[in-house]
């Protein structure tokens, strides 16, 4: 093992790490080696199933039951082997020398223990401190991470905080012990864009202050490019490429790294001219949507207003992206247009007819609108074969024979790129990307004039996202349906939108042609969103990446 001579020796050194469930079975991590220098940040990047999380958990020896490292593996912290420590010795390393922050802030704090006790727990365990000292340190830390009322926070329960706050609290409680290494497993994936940025900045601040090394697990190349100087790219359990992030991302040597970089959002053609002059297909006029308040025993809570009087138009064949944070009302508005939510005021006109007036005409027009949901798992009936899923809308056309339906389903399968051999499978037997293709096939099988795509790619892996976005664009070009693309992901929006509407707290704060919004944002909220979105082509430039990709032989 050749160590770099100028460094005092790595903080963490992983060698030939192989992790498998039992002896005979194929490994989930294979032959992984990397070093982290003291105070340095290294990112493990890969898609779901790449083994990055299991590799990170091996360091703390927190692998789920049948998984364990092979005999030849070695993980050293400042030169001391971790894999051969006794359980008791390992407990003294966990928390004290290596801290860990988890992905889901909603489930990684104990719901039945006040924040203060959870923060104090590890301190009491690893350091000999009095109760007063522990309290002082906890308060100081909470103040440091800018929590408004630290004393109150200590007595509060986890469920009283938002996801972003919980993630800060978790970070604080881990950093309180001044660990030498912090493992951060997708620490911001579950958070909104703006909050993501906050939490990451805080993490970098705290770790730099304390000189803590960081092992960052992420699927997000944009984030890695911005924060981590070193990167290891993993695919199917193996490290396919590693080195300086700037080098790896601008001149990827391995084909998989290139495909990951290719999958990054890139601006498509179009979107520079305002397509509002196209004949409007849908007009949303002064739509107000209220959610009924919670039902109490004898009364109802006051209703909550989700959308405050929104106007917008969508032209024939146009893609309008609706962008905003969670809770901004963007999803509610999309669902109202297809009739899943009843607005309390305003009008939604489709080809001039107000869809909020019930009647045969409304029912007929509604069938020209379809929706694709975020989660392709819950949007398909688990008991329906996928060819039946796609054929189901056709049952509404009484004129079609079973043979006609079958022909049409086959045709649509081909259009969305699904092999016909999958037709008799059940949804859970397909991959996430295939399921989303089925959902899209179901939406377009009757040639709708308008499709709402509600975060259609945010549950998918990066490379799959890219394919699905391209598919939506291709289908649109071929069939000319209009699309309302609801998303929090500016990267995805940039790839498909003609126009963009930005929503904040139930109001549209800015609307315009895509290039205008991305290049010349007017509203402060839009600017902050764009600022927080870590679009890689702003850090590296698309040109650099593709030019380098073409130049380096694999």
């Amino acid at each position: 093992m050749t160590e770099p001579s100028n460094a005092p020796g790595p903080l963490l050194s992983v060698r030939n790490l192989t992790v498998r469930p039992g002896n005979a079975l194929p490994p989930v991590v294979q032959d992984l080696s990397f070093d982290i220098a003291p105070g340095e940040m290294l990112a493990l990047v890969g898609e779901s199933g790449s083994g990055k999380t299991m590799a990170a958990r091996s360091v703390l020896r927190l692998l789920p039951a049948p998984l364990r490292p092979d005999a030849g593996s070695s993980i050293r912290l400042k030169g001391a082997e971790l894999l051969t420590l006794s359980d008791r010795e390992m407990c003294r390393v966990r928390g004290a020398r290596i801290g860990m922050v988890f992905q889901e802030p909603m489930v990684s704090l104990n719901p039945s223990m006040p924040i203060g006790r959870q923060m104090a727990e590890a301190l009491r365990l690893h350091q000999r401190l009095s109760a007063a000292e522990i309290r002082d340190r906890s308060l100081a830390m909470l103040e440091r991470i800018r929590i408004k009322d630290p004393a109150k926070c200590l007595a509060a329960w986890p469920h009283e905080f938002s996801g972003g706050m919980r993630q800060r609290i978790m970070l604080a409680s881990v950093m309180l012990l001044r660990p030498e290494l912090l493992i951060a497993d997708e620490p911001t994936t579950a958070l909104d864009t703006l909050v993501q940025r906050d939490v990451l900045d805080l993490m970098v601040e705290l770790t730099q202050e304390q000189g803590t090394g960081v092992l960052l697990i992420s699927h997000d190349l944009g984030m890695v490019a911005k924060y981590a100087p070193k990167v290891v790219v993993m695919q199917a359990g193996r490290a396919v490429e590693q080195g300086e992030s700037a080098r790896v991302l601008s001149a990827p040597a391995h084909a998989y790294t290139r495909s990951l970089i290719d999958a990054l959002p890139r601006r498509s053609a179009g979107g520079h001219r305002d397509r509002a002059e196209a004949p409007p297909l849908i007009r949303v006029e002064g739509v107000v949507i209220d959610y009924p308040g919670r039902e109490r025993l004898f009364r109802r809570d006051a209703p909550k207003r989700a959308v405050h009087g929104v106007d917008l138009t969508i032209g024939t064949g146009e893609t309008l992206a609706l962008v905003g944070a969670s809770g901004s009302g963007k999803t509610t508005l999309g669902r109202a247009i297809v009739g899943l939510v009843q607005p309390s005021a305003g009008a939604i006109r489709f080809e001039g007819h107000d869809l909020l007036q019930p009647g045969a005409q409304t029912a007929r027009l509604r069938q020209k609108m379809q929706i694709v949901f975020q989660d392709p798992y819950s949007s398909l009936d688990p008991r329906q074969r996928v060819d039946r899923v796609v054929a189901e809308p056709l049952l509404l056309d009484r004129g079609l024979s079973a043979g006609d339906r079958r022909d049409r389903v086959r045709q649509v399968f081909e259009e969305v790129g699904l092999p016909w051999v999958l037709a008799e499978r059940l949804p859970h037997q397909l991959s996430g990307g295939q399921r989303q293709r089925v959902a899209i096939a179901r939406a377009i099988v009757r040639n709708p004039a308008f499709v709402v795509a509600d975060e259609p790619v945010s549950a998918l892996d990066m490379t799959v996202q890219k394919q699905i976005l391209r598919l939506i664009r291709d289908l649109q070009a071929r069939h000319g349906f209009a699309c309302l693309f609801v998303s929090h992901d500016l990267g995805a929006v940039e790839q498909v939108a003609d126009r963009v509407a930005v929503m904040e707290n139930g109001r549209i704060v800015e609307m315009g042609a895509r290039d205008d919004i991305f290049d010349r944002p007017q509203h402060d909220y839009t600017r902050r969103l764009l600022d927080a979105a870590m679009l890689i082509d702003r850090s590296f430039g698309v040109g650099a990446a593709s030019a380098a990709g073409a130049g380096v032989p694999a």
């Binding site: 703390l60 927190l62 039951a65 359980d87 008791r88 407990c91 003294r92 390393v93 966990r94 928390g95 004290a96 801290g99 860990m100 988890f102 992905q103 889901e104 489930v107 990684s108 704090l109 104990n110 719901p111 039945s112 223990m113 727990e121 590890a122 365990l125 690893h126 329960w157 469920h159 009283e160 978790m170 109490r296 025993l297």
Partner: protein
């Protein structure tokens, strides 16, 4: 918090009202005239008419119900046809007997079964787990009255270690009372421990795969600390509800155990009432048992936020 308590208490009122009405209606569905039943077949028509008026049976049903409800609320459950005694004091006396058996049994069963279930879950699929789950499933499948009869036959009749028939109150003679309690309590403990073990195991497994358990381990806590400090409270919450349900429903199911061991408890009073066609007693017992059940579940719900602070939010 206070709001949660008040809302939960208020929500029990309509339930109790319908329960009361249902029992009232059920008793009115008994074929035959209650007045005739009370006086016997030999009664003169005049006497029957007079009693009907006195009992308010000539009034329309809703009025009868309201009058009866008023009496029940003021503690008047009527008189036993067989003995003429007021029903409520009798119920209280018998309830004391049943409650001592049930309470001791449920506490013992929980103390044994909850840790057993959690340990089984923590060592999921180990030999110990298989043994605990197997035993629990077996105990779940054995009817209490048969288990009771077997214990009685073996320890009472064959070995002669324990008294077979009768009951001595703990208050009268603590030693003898305890001897009489051993077998009924053992029967109930064994039967109920099965269900509680399985529940505790299932909810612990559910909790054990949550991220905050891994988080607790990542802090450096020992397995024991992770289990008791972090898993226990969260895993115990659903089991707590089950224990409440068992505690409440045992008062009805204990009739069987009381029959086996000839214990003069509330359940036996109900059954004897049914056989003697002593409807005021039947009505009173049903009402009382249902009330206790609702009250126990209410209490369980009110304590629940201590285990899971999210429900009161």
């Amino acid at each position: 918090m206070l709001k949660f308590l008040l809302t939960r208490i208020a929500s029990a009122v309509p339930t109790l009202l319908i329960v009361t009405a249902a029992i009232f209606a059920l008793m009115r569905m008994i074929p035959g005239d209650p007045a005739v039943l009370m006086l016997g077949d030999m009664a003169q028509p005049g006497q029957v008419e007079e009693l009907r008026q006195r009992m308010g049976l000539d009034q329309p049903l809703p009025i009868q119900f309201v009058t009866w409800l008023g009496k029940v609320l003021s503690g008047d459950f009527g008189q036993s046809i067989a003995t003429g005694e007021p029903v409520l004091p009798l119920i209280f006396e018998r309830f004391g007997v049943s409650a001592s058996v049930v309470l001791i049994a449920v506490v013992l069963a929980s103390v044994i079964a909850v840790p057993a279930g959690m340990i089984a879950a923590w060592r999921q699929n180990s030999l110990g787990d298989v043994a605990i789950v197997g035993t629990a499933t077996l105990m779940l499948s054995v009817p209490s009255f048969w288990l009771g009869l077997m214990l009685l036959t073996v320890f009472g009749l064959w070995l002669g270690w324990l008294p077979v028939v009768g009951y001595v109150s703990l208050a009268d003679d603590p030693t003898a009372g305890l001897l009489y309690l051993i077998m009924p309590v053992l029967t109930l403990v064994m039967v109920e421990a099965g269900a509680i073990t399985r529940m505790a195991r299932a909810s612990t497994i559910e909790v054990a795969r949550l991220e905050y358990i891994t988080h607790a381990r990542a802090k450096g806590l020992s397995e024991r600390a992770v289990m008791w400090r972090h898993a226990f409270r969260n895993a115990f919450a659903p089991t707590w509800t089950l224990i409440g349900l068992i505690l409440g429903s045992l008062l009805a199911n204990i009739a069987v155990t009381e029959t086996v061991f000839t214990i003069p408890g509330l359940g036996r009073m109900l059954i004897d009432g049914i056989f003697a066609r002593d409807y005021p007693v039947v009505q009173g017992c049903m009402l009382f048992i249902a009330f206790i059940y609702v009250a126990v579940n209410l209490l369980v719900d009110l304590i629940y936020p201590l285990l899971d602070p999210r429900v009161a939010a």
